[in-house]
Amino acid sequence: MDFQVVILAGGFSSNLVPLVSKEVPKALLPVANRPVLSYVLDLLESNNLKDLIVVVEGEDAALKVGGWISSACVDRLHVEVAAVAENIGTAGALRAIAHHLTAKDILIVSGDIVSDIPPGAVAATHRRHDAVVTVMLCAQPVSGPSESGGSSGKDKTKKPACEDIVGLDSWKQFLLYIAKGTEIKKDTRVNKSILCAAGKMELRSDLMDSHIYAFKRSVLQEVLDQKPAFRSLKQDVLPYLVRTQLRSDVSSDQNNVEENGNGKDNMQNNEVVLSQILSNASLPSFHQVYESGLDSRKTHKCCVYIADESKIFVRLNSIQAFMDVNRDVIGDANHLSGYSFSAHHNIVHPSAELGSKTTVGPHCMLGEGSQVGDKCSVKRSVIGRHCRIGSNVKIVNSVVMDHATIGDGCSIQGSVICSNAQLQERATLRDCQVEAGYIVCAGGEHKGETFARR
């Protein structure tokens, strides 16, 4: 397949502070003790997409990510790591790596996805329609985090209704409209000319853009060149392409030229469409019909691939999402993790040591070389490698990263303890985040706090 894959792995995302740090860029955040990027790489590999460019914001982060990649999968995949400046947006990042892009079509995947939807299907759809862009859509999570996550799920349940608004044609093949729900002030304005050409448009607010796109390279680069103000693929480039699909001014590549060649004069083009209609071989898309009705009109196609509802799709773009992903991967969506689970639905590494009367419940994970003291209780939590956990510790719904130290009598609920952090005796944390290397004093009771050095 002449597809190049670009993974936009981000850098030190600000809304994941304090989980990310100079040592741990977003792409390397552990999900069930594996960097989140590894899920994306596995997903692509399973779809036989092996020619990858990982784009990382910032040199430092790029070095870190590059180091991990070369250690983890250099033998299986052909991966290039490209560093781009920070805060230039997704469109800016693509502009910066333009010289790397050579293939006819480009698949762009966000680096923070944990999912089992097949990107290969997007590529296939893209090719089938000879589209300019194909967007993967998936069902929007109906009610934020599932009931088990007793932690702060309120902000999510409040607004799931209108994340993205997409307009599809009646066969759900083409993308006719896209807007971010939060950006719409009062009215959704649907362009009449597109609506007229398509006849029907189904506006869906229960679908979500999954940040997996296939672009025609020539078109993408042309748009990026022509519109230097475009910063974001999702907010600028994609809506622009969707909006202009009936009066395309992006020049087409060879393939399209050929098409235009045989339809040079309108009459002939008309005949082509007509014969297609008559033979009923395949119904012409409304684009073609529209084109044939008007002289000197060019159109381009924006397609969608709608993922099956049963597929799992999560983006690691907030602390809440981080918690949810960790919980899901060792819980309901455990086929993603690649681990084999014990009879108790948990994973305890053979080298981990458990004290007496310590229980590790289902949907838990205990990393290599970790020690847990006596009379501890671990429920629905992920504990990293080489952690030292004292006695009488309770850990529920939490993530404890590698090399963390937790003193006796601590109680941790719904919290994230980053690597090398230390919790002194009898600290009680609830819905807290502890930065890497931070030391939480003994005996304190904390709720909803963020511990980080300023």
Partner: protein, 726 residues
């Protein structure tokens, strides 16, 4: 015993529940529109023949077939004629269908008619439950029983579901944005699961472009909304009794769709809901204008409306004989051997057709006589029409009793009303409407109102008619009779849209061109997504884009100023209004100054002018007249500078007519004390550091500024002199 009785009682109860209510319909035998004028001045629209049967005949026959048991025919204009027809055609004594007429001459709209029904209802309670609401110009063969059942079941579950409307797929042309029936394109939004109607928008031709606005809450409450453009409203509604009371409550509801449906959709206090029902295989269409008359006629001839086709007896018509190629011929029609009757034509009883006549795609009524070598194409000739030798008729409607003298030509789109006589060799120009009645001179702009007026006045008109006819020379040749109606203003461009004639090719090309032009503008007008925002400033997280707001504000101010100029409103009233706008849009006083000045200059540019000097005169007169208004907002230097900047901006806008006049107008503003010299000088200073491209206007008025500077220095010197004097 007791048990038995109980059982019996229950049975009867059940029976009551199960026995379907009488199926009732309200048929509006008046369209409350003027689209069929001048024909409808003399005969009500529902009695106009379509393929030789009055429209209402189709509607009644369909209602009867669909199982309706009682029809209330609401008569308004020409009520007597309708009642006469019903009597004559024996609808009154039909065994299965009870036809009752209700007469009201005061009603001027469908809303009034339904309000009248409601008032009657209070006395007689004729309407017992759900009813079908149709107009008398509907041609359909759709079954209604299922639809009514569906409506009732829905109503049982949801008290608020008061109406179900029938829609049918029909793709409107991508060029004219007009359906096959000649109606405006329709945008509806429906919940794909429940079929609830969420949005209804009929697109007027005036705003063919732009976007459909759906309320955000609509999408929040419905995960999926189907917006369609390829649906056609059949104007067949199943209504619950609440509909009548809603009309009573909202006395301003006139039009069934524009007011009632919109009103119900917008009003969320009552929470009433309207549902849609898409019909697939059956036919339904309403004859709304001449184009739909043509379309429906063709559909009838092509038998889409079976069993309501010319060769089957319904509604008291005399069936014709169907030949090959869709030619229907009466058995006693006399055709010359050399006459050529082409496909899809209808020839009525007692019609005589002479030698060498060519007829194609046309309907010819009863008792017509057509001379030799006549060409009739795509036309509708009603009853008792006389056409003499050598006439040519293309895409025209010719009403009863018309005489077309030898050699006359009807160009496409002509409508000849009753008894008109076209003179020898006269060519009736395309799209003209001809009637023996003079066009009513007092054109009421509200189209809803006209129809009713005319009905009362018709009789008088007719009596005085003959006198007028003889005294006045005819507009249709020396031996003709009839007036060619003037096309009323504004409607001129739309004449071709609603005519029986197909849209001419050059018109289509024109529209295509227009679309192309529009498209390029389109983008700047409709920023569909957040792109504009991120283009302007990506860090800007403000939800309300200030640019956007300013545009709206400017438009509003422009409208206000325009109105003020037109109606000569006092300055302080205008300031009051603009101040109101300023507060509601949260604008600065400087913005007001800019916007006011902008609208004044725009007015000047929009006033027709031939040369730059005329434009200057326009501007000068407007500025002189409204300087007080402007003066109100330009008290501070900053505001004055804003005005100059705005002016500069305007000069840049195409067609750049104002550009050359920059200095002159600036001078004028200075003379009229709108701008102080300080402001102009400060503007010049600010601009001095700008790009070369920005300095065009600064350079233009260099001498003026120089003069100002010198003047002020002199003044200073004068002051000093004075001081010295002291």
């Amino acid at each position: 015993m007791g048990g038995q009785k109980k059982g019996g009682a229950r049975v009867s109860e059940d029976a009551e529940e199960q026995s379907p209510q009488r199926l009732q319909a309200i048929l509006l035998a008046d369209s409350f529109a003027t689209k069929f004028r001048p024909v409808t001045l003399e005969r009500p629209k529902v009695l106009l023949p379509i393929v030789n049967v009055p429209m209402i005949g189709y509607t009644l026959a369909w209602l009867e077939y669909a199982g309706i048991e009682e029809v209330f025919v609401f008569c308004c204009a020409h009520a007597i004629q309708i009642i006469e027809y019903l009597e004559k055609s024996e609808w009154y004594s039909h065994p299965n269908l009870v036809v009752r007429t209700i007469e009201s001459h005061k009603s001027i709209s469908a809303g009034d008619a339904l309000r009248y029904m409601y008032e009657q209802q209070a006395e007689t309670s004729q309407i017992q439950g759900d009813f079908v609401l149709v107009s008398g110009d509907t041609v359909s063969n759709m079954p209604l029983a299922d639809l009514i059942q569906e409506h009732r079941e829905r109503k049982k579950k949801d008290e608020k579901a008061i109406m179900t409307m029938a829609i049918k797929q029909s793709k409107s042309s991508s060029l004219t944005h007009q359906s096959r029936l000649g109606t405006d394109q329709l945008f509806i939004a429906v919940d794909p699961l429940t079929k609830q109607l969420l949005h209804y928008e009929e697109d007027k031709i005036d705003h063919p472009r732009g976007s459909v606005c759906l309320d955000k809450s609509l999408l929040e409450s419905n995960p999926s909304v189907l917006v369609s453009n390829d649906m056609q409203d059949c104007y067949i509604d199943i209504c619950s009794p609440e509909v009548l009371s809603l009309f009573e409550d909202n006395f301003d509801y006139q039009h069934l769709r524009r007011h009632f449906v919109k009103g119900v959709l917008v009003d969320d206090i009552m929470g009433y809901k309207i549902f849609t029902h898409e019909i697939h295989s059956s036919y339904a269409a309403r004859i709304d204008n001449f184009r739909s008359y043509d379309t429906v006629s063709k559909d009838i001839i092509q038998r889409w409306t079976y069993p309501y086709v010319p060769d089957i007896n319904f509604s008291g018509n005399r069936p014709l004989k169907l030949g090959r190629q869709g030619i229907y011929r009466a058995c006693d029609a006399v055709l010359s051997r050399s006459a050529d009757v082409g496909a899809s034509s209808v020839i009525g009883y007692g019609t005589k057709i002479g030698d060498g006549v060519k007829i194609l795609n046309s309907v010819i009524g009863n008792g017509c006589s057509i001379g030799s070598n006549v060409v009739i194409e795509g036309s509708y000739i009603w009853n008792n029409v006389t056409i003499e030798d050598g006439c040519e008729i293309r895409n025209a409607i010719v009403c009863d009793g018309v005489k077309i003298r030898a050699g006359a030509v009807l160009e496409p789109g002509v409508v000849l009303s009753f008894n008109v006589v076209v003179g020898r060799d006269f060519v009736v120009p395309a799209y003209s409407k001809v009637s023996l009645l003079q066009q009513p001179t007092t054109e009421d702009s509200d189209e809803e109102l006209e129809y009713a007026d005319s009905s009362s006045g018709t009789a008088d008109h007719l009596s005085g008619l003959n006198l007028q006819m003889e005294s006045k020379a005819s507009e249709l040749g020396p031996d003709g009779a009839g007036y060619i109606w003037e096309v009323c203003e504004g409607a001129h461009d739309e004449e071709w849209k609603h005519s029986v004639a197909p849209i001419p090719k050059d018109k289509l090309a024109e529209i295509t061109q227009a679309i192309d032009d529009d498209d390029t503008d389109d983008e700047s007008v409709v920023p569909t997504s957040g792109e504009l925002k991120s283009d302007a400033d990506s860090i800007n997280t403000d939800m309300n884009d200030p640019n956007d707001d300013y545009c709206y504000f400017e438009k509003e101010v422009e409208g206000t100023v325009l109105r003020a100029v037109e109606e000569n409103i006092k300055v302080d009233l205008v300031t009051l209004e603009i101040n109101g706008l300023r507060l509601s849009y949260n604008m600065e006083s400087a913005d007001c100054a800019g916007a006011t000045f902008y609208s004044m200059m725009k007015l000047a540019v929009d006033t027709p002018h031939n040369s730059a000097s005329e434009l200057y005169k326009n501007a000068a007169s407007i500025i002189t007249k409204w300087k007080e208004l402007l003066g109100f907002y330009v008290k501070k230097i900053d505001e004055q500078i804003e005005v100059i900047m705005k002016f500069e901006e305007m000069c840049q806008e195409p067609p750049k007519e104002l550009g050359p006049l920059f200095t002159q107008i600036l001078h004028l503003l200075y003379d009229k004390d709108v701008l102080q010299e300080d402001a102009i000088l400060r503007w010049a200073e600010e601009k001095a550091g700008a790009d070369e491209t920005d300095k065009v206007y600064l350079k233009q008025c260099e001498t003026f500024i120089q003069w100002l500077k010198e003047a002020s220095e002199e003044e200073d010197e004068d002051d000093e002199d004075e001081e010295d004097d002291d």
